[in-house]
């Protein structure tokens, strides 16, 4: 190591008393000066990082005139729910409000339903596949596993276009015949929004690695006790995979909740918009109704922030465990 070359400096410095209590393992000397400096860097930085949220929250309660006011107001002088009502299209809207365009509460319900369904199905299907790869020996296992893994490097944009066409040609749906022609298939439907997201090679890999650490004896014991395959999976394997399942579920939910490109491509009618899609298209169509936009933005952000604050430890563990976001 390069450390040995630095020994000449030893003489200049007093040797530290060995009995001095050691706290932490950071690189800094934990002197008061260093601490003050640390706070002087961290605190203003943190405030800068959170300021956009503070402003967003405040602006969502301001009338449009106040948002456009200069200097910017950080605390609304006349708080109003007009933005929220307008974006959710709830209650009675005046003609002026109607003219400014409005959103729809359904967009958030759609997002919740789509992201929720994807999360549940994805976690279940991933866990079932991972269980096979980790704990079962069957012909074809390695080939199939390698097949899954080898697709992880492919950017999702490569399958974007064919998936659009596949969804369009799903037989028997949306007016399609048995060959998938004639109608629009799963385009502009919940199936189309949900199905492609219900399995992920990465999640399977993550769960499989975790399941490898479950001792086989445990499964054998359950089998001897007369448990069937499903029971072993559901009652023995799944409960032992808590952290990995949580990581899979949290990241899947986050990814599905903020997914934008896929809904943008396959959704047509505002009835099926998800929250991010509704917001983004609202910016394009109603350029000036910023109060509505900010209200919608707050609602779209809230679930993620709440989930993050509740599961903070899991979240950060999961990120360090897997190194992914969404």
């Amino acid at each position: 190591m390069t450390l040995t070359t630095r020994t000449r400096k030893t003489l200049d410095r007093p040797v530290r008393e060995p009995d001095r209590p050691r706290r932490g393992r950071g690189v800094n000397e934990h002197s008061t000066r260093a601490k003050v400096l640390t706070y002087l860097v961290l605190a203003p930085g943190a405030i800068l990082f959170v300021a956009p949220f503070a402003w967003l929250l405040s602006a969502s309660f301001q009338p449009l005139s106040e948002i456009f006011h200069s200097p910017p107001t950080w605390i609304p002088s006349h708080p109003t729910l007009a933005g929220y009502k307008g974006f959710l299209n709830l209650g009675h809207l005046t003609d002026a409000q109607k003219g400014a365009g409005h959103g729809d509460w359904r967009w958030f319900a759609n997002s919740a339903f789509v992201a929720g369904s994807i999360t549940v199905l994805n976690t279940l299907f991933n866990a079932m596949a991972a269980y096979c790869f980790a704990k079962r020996k069957f012909p074809g296992r390695n080939v199939i596993f390698v097949l899954f893994l080898s697709t992880m490097m492919v950017p999702p944009q490569v399958t974007l276009i064919p998936n659009y066409l596949i969804i369009k040609h799903i037989p028997f749906f949306g007016g399609n015949d048995i060959f998938g022609n004639g109608g629009h298939g799963w385009l502009d439907s919940y199936y189309g929004l949900i199905m492609p997201g219900t399995v992920s090679a990465f999640g399977i890999f993550l769960l499989r690695q975790y399941m490898l650490s479950i001792p086989d004896d445990l499964l054998d014991a359950a089998r001897i006790d007369g448990a069937g395959d499903w029971r072993i999976f559901w009652r023995v394997v799944m409960p032992l995979c808590g952290p990995a399942l949580a990581a899979n579920a949290i990241f899947t939910f986050q990814g599905a909740w903020e997914d934008f490109l896929w809904p943008l491509i396959i959704t047509d009618s505002p009835d099926h918009y998800t929250a991010p899609l509704g917001l983004a298209l609202f910016v394009v169509q109603n350029r000036t109704s910023w109060n509505l936009l900010f209200a919608g933005s707050v609602i779209a952000t809230l679930p993620m922030v709440v989930i993050f604050l509740i599961f903070q430890r899991r979240f950060i563990q999961g990120i360090s465990l897997t190194g992914v976001k969404g």
């Binding site: 390069t2 450390l3 630095r6 020994t7 400096k9 030893t10 200049d12 530290r16 706290r23 690189v27 934990h30 961290l42 930085g45 943190a46 990082f49 402003w55 200069s70 299907f125 991933n126 079932m128 596949a129 096979c132 069957f138 012909p139 074809g140 390695n142 080939v143 199939i144 097949l147 697709t151 492919v154 999702p156 490569v158 974007l160 276009i161 064919p162 998936n163 659009y164 066409l165 596949i166 090679a201 999976f233 903020e258 934008f260 491509i265 991010p276 899609l277 917001l279 983004a280 936009l293 900010f294 933005s297 952000t301 979240f315 950060i316 990120i319 360090s320 190194g323 992914v324 976001k325």
Partner: protein, 316 residues
């Protein structure tokens, strides 16, 4: 093992008076049939939306496939030839590399600095970590909308405070200025990515054994020397990981561009994925869009291999 299943058809005469390998494989498949049941839902969906889709995408690249044209003729390598000479594609690569080259290293450096500060036993550590991490859990669309407003030329917060601080003398047109649009998008993306880098670096820092710092301290290494000779070398795997993952994600940048600039002004922010989107879903040229997507795939692969190679070489 699977090798048995596939090889048995071709070679190896069955041993006398024992069931053939194929029979044995079939028997084992029957015995383990429930495993296939467990695998089925995931495998079916994966086969359709990933395996079949990949093959389909590859098939599309050899066709002039416009969704509104009834004829979808086979054109051989024409799409690939077009791509190589496509001025727009070249420009989108430059824009994407610009975005990646700026946003990834900057978020990594700031993330590392924050991680080192937060790795000390200080009060409010958890609070700071949460505050820096919040942008990561914010949906990209929301962050883009918010920052689009901040960059607004007439009412935006940036212009207001910069003017007030006398850092600029007239309002800047952030997102509609050819030279400022990309830096503006980059700044917003850095804000969104720092927290992620910070958390990964924190995990990396916590796995460095304290004895190394102890040894360095005894050798008389100061703070800077300890960072330079202990922290940075020990974090190299983390750094590589963040570099590779960050580059792959940044190469796929889309949402910010769609919401904030729509690829403008003068296509200065048209990134590769934005170009793919326009080609495929504005001009419905699915064949060429697929070709561009494979172009993106190839670029990502090259980038990753180069990064891994550089890492290995500098390791020796």
């Amino acid at each position: 093992m699977t090798a048995v299943a596939t090889e048995s058809k071709h070679r190896g005469a069955p041993a006398p008076r024992r069931p053939s390998r194929t029979r044995r494989t079939l028997r084992r498949m029957w015995r383990e049939r429930s495993a296939y049941g467990f695998l089925a839902p995931g495998f079916l969906i994966f086969s359709l939306f990933t395996l079949y889709a990949l093959g389909y995408a590859f098939y599309l690249t050899f066709h002039d496939w416009n969704i509104i044209e009834p004829n979808k003729p086979f054109v051989g390598l024409q799409n690939y030839k077009d791509m190589i000479h496509d001025e727009e594609f070249r420009r989108s690569i430059i824009n994407t590399v610009y975005f990646t080259g700026a946003s990834v290293p900057v978020s990594m450096v700031i993330g590392l600095a924050l991680a080192m500060l937060l790795n000390q036993p200080i009060r409010l550590r958890g609070l700071f970590r949460t505050m820096y991490f919040l942008p990561v859990v914010t949906p990209f669309v929301v962050a883009s909308i918010l920052w689009k407003w901040f960059y607004n030329g007439d009412f935006g917060l940036f212009n207001f405070y910069l003017l007030k601080a006398h850092l600029i003398d007239k309002p800047l047109l952030w997102l509609s200025s050819q030279n400022l649009a990309m830096p503006a998008v980059i700044l917003m993306s850095v804000w969104g990515a720092i927290g992620f880098n910070m958390v990964i670096y924190l995990a990396g820092l916590q796995s460095i054994p304290a004895e190394l710092y102890e040894a360095a301290r005894i050798d008389g290494a100061g703070v800077v020397a300890r960072i330079r000779y202990v922290t940075i070398p020990m974090l190299r795997p983390t750094t590589l990981f963040l570099l590779v993952i960050g580059s792959i994600f940044s190469f796929q940048v889309f949402t910010q561009i769609f919401v904030m600039t729509s690829g403008g002004p003068a296509e200065r922010t048209t990134t590769i994925v934005y170009l793919i989107y326009e080609t495929g879903f504005k001009f419905y040229d699915m064949g060429y869009a697929s070709t561009l997507a494979f172009g993106l795939f190839a670029l990502t692969l090259v980038l990753t291999v180069v990064q891994l190679r550089l890492y290995r070489n500098s390791n020796q």
